[in-house]
Amino acid sequence: MRLKETYLNAAVLLGLLAVPLFALVTDEPFTITLVTRAVILALAAVGLNIALGIGGLVSFGHAVFFGLGGYAMGILAHHAQTYTAMDFGAFSIAGTKVMPVIWVVAVTLCALVALLIGLLSLRTSGVYFIMITLAFGQMFFYFAISWAQYGGEDGLSIYVRNDFPGLNTLVPIQYFGICFVLLALALLLFHRLQNAPFGLALNAARQTAARVETVGLTPMHLKLVAFVISGVITGLAGALFADLNRFVSPSMFSWQLSGELIVLIIIGGVGRLMGPVIGACVFVALEHLLGGLTVYWHIYLGLILLSIVLFARGGVIGLLTGKEGAHV
């Protein structure tokens, strides 16, 4: 039985909506929180999937953007709840607890940093690109650990979730709604972008840079723009993740997190629209179910990942639809 990818995608999205609604009826608020976590991780991975799946940029440092988004939220909310202003010498900025404002700040910050990291990193390729992005991740990680003003390695606690006009974000299903809508928007963007001239050119640049140059396009520019868009979406996910936990810490910058984002995509299917979503759901479910069975659940996670690489190229989607994913 080979499924058509469109049906599979629709089923996954519906499932993602149905589970929390069912949990709402049966009064299982934690299940909603769990699904929200999967949705946010999926959003981060959708971002990475633009760079990695379409553009072939194996960024081992996407935690930079996840963490930046998180810290943008943490710092703004911290100043808002302590009624202090951020002092930049010549001027100062008040904090805020309004989510959309925080998102705009997070997204802008991530765009700037992605532009800078992209400009420097895209001079390299292959393994060197993997490693230079890792290096940037480590720089941010160590910086965050020693940044005592914002908690250093202890991180920053935000005692109540930030506000969204018209909603009560502390109610799990409402916060889930916000995250789900943003994920849906990101998926729409991914889908349009992948099929638009930009995506087509970027996808070709992953496969053959020489061809793209020969038709008069510059692969480096395509990849840089992809990297920035990618970083922005992952950054937005970081801000949501921080709000889900009401907490930010340097672990959001860790290389393990960068690795996990890659893992999510591979589990689902590289370059596939719903790959990150399926990957995130599978990952969170495994973490939850296996983690409940044994403290040695990492062994089983390892075995599952290994089997995916060895026997299921193309991830879950590849397995179900019988089509391999993008080669990176």
Partner: protein, 376 residues
């Protein structure tokens, strides 16, 4: 074998029947780096629950993998789905800061068996938050006090560059009256201390104070012992607990460290605890195990007087601290952190086993400097 079975019971562990009246959620570190501490706390805690023979207390145990976001997620689950009354178990300050403020605001009681960050002792204190171990500064303050009594006048001090490390040096300096030969922040997770040891050698110090928890301490002590620098070393108990000492070996012999507990504290509760813990798990208890054990007994003592559903009465019962602590005298200060003796211990060898022996009291009936800042 029994402890292996316990170890796999990460999901739900029922001490009694399904009739449980009180649900306790324990989030602690059982896998990955630093799992030894969480395992000790859990084993000490469960020992006390088992010894109480009560069948109306259910303990839900979860592994946080030492990741703050996982801990937060587990806390959400315990509060939202399991609807626990009391939470405990967190080992690390950063995880504590992630979980505790929001948990106690959701009307859950939290009793810390290990971490005691200063924010939660001072302005961030809360009527539902109790610390049964120590405020983070305590053992470092005791080390500073011990340094005075040992007539050290020129200490070289070092700790990793993160909040707990910075607090450690502040705590030591708060009590220590001598001069500083040097003050160094190492990298978190650093494994090689040759550079720092060379600085110590060149500094002209007469003593060394260090706070390097976990594997960092093992590395430091082994390298220090091999360096030929033979200045006396003091530190908090974290690098000298029962789990770590065996990995350090000879290198730790004779080192003085400060702790609120040791297995030779002379009281019947402690003697019984050490004996029953060793019998149950086949290893000597560590201070973490004693903290877990005390936390459980404090909860049990309060449950005898009131139910957590009557929050005010239960809180009063906890405040009274009317239980037999393995540490002897134990009381809560106004910010619900312990007032207790802190001892200086020396590392000795008993047969094949490295362990600690009390050599004196470093600070008597010691509380913490943050109590004044706490307004409840």
């Amino acid at each position: 074998m029994k402890h292996l079975l316990l170890a796999t019971a990460a999901a739900v562990f029922c001490a009694g029947s399904a009739l449980a009246d009180t649900k306790i959620g324990m989030i602690t570190t059982l896998s990955g780096g630093g799992a030894g501490l969480g395992i000790d706390v859990r084993d000490g805690f469960m020992l006390a629950i088992a010894q109480s023979g009560r069948n109306d207390v259910e303990v839900v145990i979860e592994d946080d993998q030492r990741k703050p976001d996982i801990a937060v997620q587990l806390a959400d689950r315990m509060i939202q789905s399991e609807r626990v009354d009391i939470m405990t178990g967190i080992i690390w300050s950063n995880l504590a800061m992630a979980v505790i403020p929001s948990a106690v605001n959701q009307n859950v009681f939290y009793l810390s068996p290990n971490a005691g960050p200063s924010q939660l002792a001072g302005p961030g204190c809360h009527q539902n938050y109790f610390n049964v171990a120590w405020q983070n500064d305590n053992l470092h303050e005791a080390a500073g006090s011990y340094a005075n009594s040992a007539d050290y006048t020129n200490s070289f001090i070092l700790a990793p560059n993160y909040p707990a490390g910075q607090d450690a040096l502040t705590g030591y300096k708060r009590m220590y009256e001598g001069a500083l030969a040097g003050e160094v922040f190492t990298q978190l997770g650093q494994t090689d201390y040759a550079a720092e040891i060379a600085q110590i050698r060149a500094s002209g110090a007469d003593s060394v104070f260090f706070f390097l928890p976990g594997g960092m301490g093992i590395s430091f002590l082994k390298q220090y012992a091999d360096s030929g620098v033979d200045l006396p070393v003091v530190g908090p108990a974290f690098s000298f607990d029962q789990g770590i000492l065996q990995a350090v070996g000879d290198a730790a012999l004779g080192v003085v460290n400060t702790s609120q507990w040791n297995k030779d504290i002379d009281n019947p509760t402690n003697a019984a605890f050490v004996e029953s813990f060793s019998a149950e798990y086949g290893r000597l208890p560590s201070l973490y195990a004693s903290q877990g054990f005390d936390t459980a007994n404090l909860i049990l003592s309060a449950l005898d007087k009131a139910s957590p559903s009557d929050a005010d009465a239960f809180r009063e019962a906890l405040r009274a601290a009317d239980f037999d602590s393995t540490r002897g005298d134990f009381a809560f200060d106004t910010n619900q952190h312990p007032i207790q003796d802190i001892y200086a211990r020396e590392v000795i060898q008993e047969g094949d086993v490295f362990t600690n022996k009390i050599i004196g009291v470093a600070l008597e009936d010691h509380s913490n400097v943050y109590a004044d800042q706490c307004k409840m």
